[in-house]
């Protein structure tokens, strides 16, 4: 996944919010990253560090909340845990699973001054 593009995206959201909400420094950024989003948290941290240098988010703590993956299995008729996209259903082994959660990549909130 494009951790650099994502870090740039996070910074863009921060800068947009800074003008709208009048803050000049960010001390922490809280993200929700789904386990099925194929984002590597370490790579994202590295890129976030690189991208925010000289910006209002320089030095900000990056807090990532992992959201587990889940899907609706048609044959089982229930929600099942998914650790990877395109995985078989852990209960019946079939592939008719519709992903219902765990693909998000969201900026939730910022701690600002």
């Amino acid at each position: 996944m494009h951790e650099m593009s994502l870090a740039e995206g996070v910074l863009q959201l921060i800068e947009d919010a800074a003008s709208a909400q009048s803050f000049t420094r960010v001390t922490a950024v809280f993200l929700e990253i789904g386990q099925l989003s194929a984002v590597e948290p370490e790579a994202l941290s590295f890129c976030f560090d690189a991208v925010t240098r000289g910006s209002i988010a320089e030095g900000a703590r990056l807090e990532i909340l992992d959201v587990p993956g889940c899907g609706w299995c048609l044959p089982c008729g229930q929600t099942v845990l998914m650790t990877q996209l395109h995985d078989a259903c852990p209960r019946c082994g079939g592939y008719q699973v519709q992903v219902t959660g765990g693909t998000e990549m969201r900026v939730m909130e910022l701690e600002v001054e």
Partner: protein, 268 residues
């Protein structure tokens, strides 16, 4: 620079002109900061004790690209233009298929093309040789087209109402899957000179596509390629995917592909 695939910024060119990315960030002094831990939703704040406050964002990280893509989608809909995002590995025969498609649609439907490659305008020139309008986006080290680039290309292309727009993405079965350009459908092209198991090896792309063209079918007699197995794998990752076997060289399947195009273009 992207640590995953090395793509950079500020190198995009549209028909030779430098395309500015939406933002520039100065990079001055190095610094250290702590890495993250997973946080519990019940973290507390004491707003009265320090100068910091919390600002709610709750937005998707790819929100900017999605916004540009939606703007593109609206722009295209206003003009009745049916736009497709063609994705595949390099060498699957996308450009040749496009040239053949344009030739067969001559007089029936106006086609315009946005070409995406790291370098050169080779593909745009091949398209222009057919008489169709084409614009080349060179991404430099970039590995996929994004909605911002496509938005600018749309402005330059001067598309006619009711035309068919083909966006030939950078040859790459990984990255383009994540970037909405504002297209009506992604069409994935898999050639029979690749492995049958490509769909399960690159599931995100095959799941993002609504149509799969199994191309270069004229070569099947010379290969061990198992067509049924490839179709099976594609349906495993995307049960609803439509599959058409084509050969731009022999013309096999091209009428079915054109019929699919016509259905979409009429409804646009």
């Amino acid at each position: 620079m992207c640590t995953t695939c090395g793509c950079g910024n500020g190198e995009t060119r549209i028909d030779g002109e430098v395309h500015e990315t939406a933002h520039e960030h100065p990079h001055d002094h190095p610094h250290q900061h702590d890495h993250s831990h997973a946080y519990t939703p019940a973290h507390t704040h004491a707003p009265g004790l320090n100068r910091t406050r919390m600002v709610q964002i709750e937005q998707d990280i790819l929100a900017k690209n999605d916004a540009h893509a939606q703007a593109n989608r609206r722009w295209l809909a206003d003009r009745g233009i049916f736009a497709l995002n063609l994705v595949s590995s390099p060498g699957s025969g996308k450009t040749t298929l496009l040239v053949k498609t344009i030739e067969m649609l001559a007089g029936r439907r106006i086609v315009a093309v946005i070409e995406g490659d790291q370098q050169t305008s080779q593909d745009a020139e091949r398209i222009r040789a057919t008489g169709a309008r084409a614009i080349q986006i060179n991404t430099g080290r970039g590995c996929h087209l994004d909605a911002h680039m496509v938005g600018h290309a749309l402005e330059k292309l001067e598309l006619e109402r009711g035309s068919l727009l083909m966006i030939e993405n950078v040859g790459n079965l990984v990255c383009p899957a994540a970037f909405d350009l504002g297209e009506a459908h992604k069409v994935v092209i898999l050639s029979v000179t690749e492995g049958e198991d490509k769909p399960i090896k690159y599931p995100d792309m095959f799941r993002a596509a609504d149509l799969m063209l199994l191309n270069k079918c004229d070569l099947l007699p010379h290969l061990d390629f198992d067509v049924e197995r490839a179709i099976d794998f594609a349906r495993r990752v995307n049960p609803g995917i439509v599959i058409i076997q084509t050969s731009a060289t022999s013309g096999a399947g091209m009428e079915d592909w054109l019929a699919w195009l016509e259905r979409g273009a009429s409804a646009a």
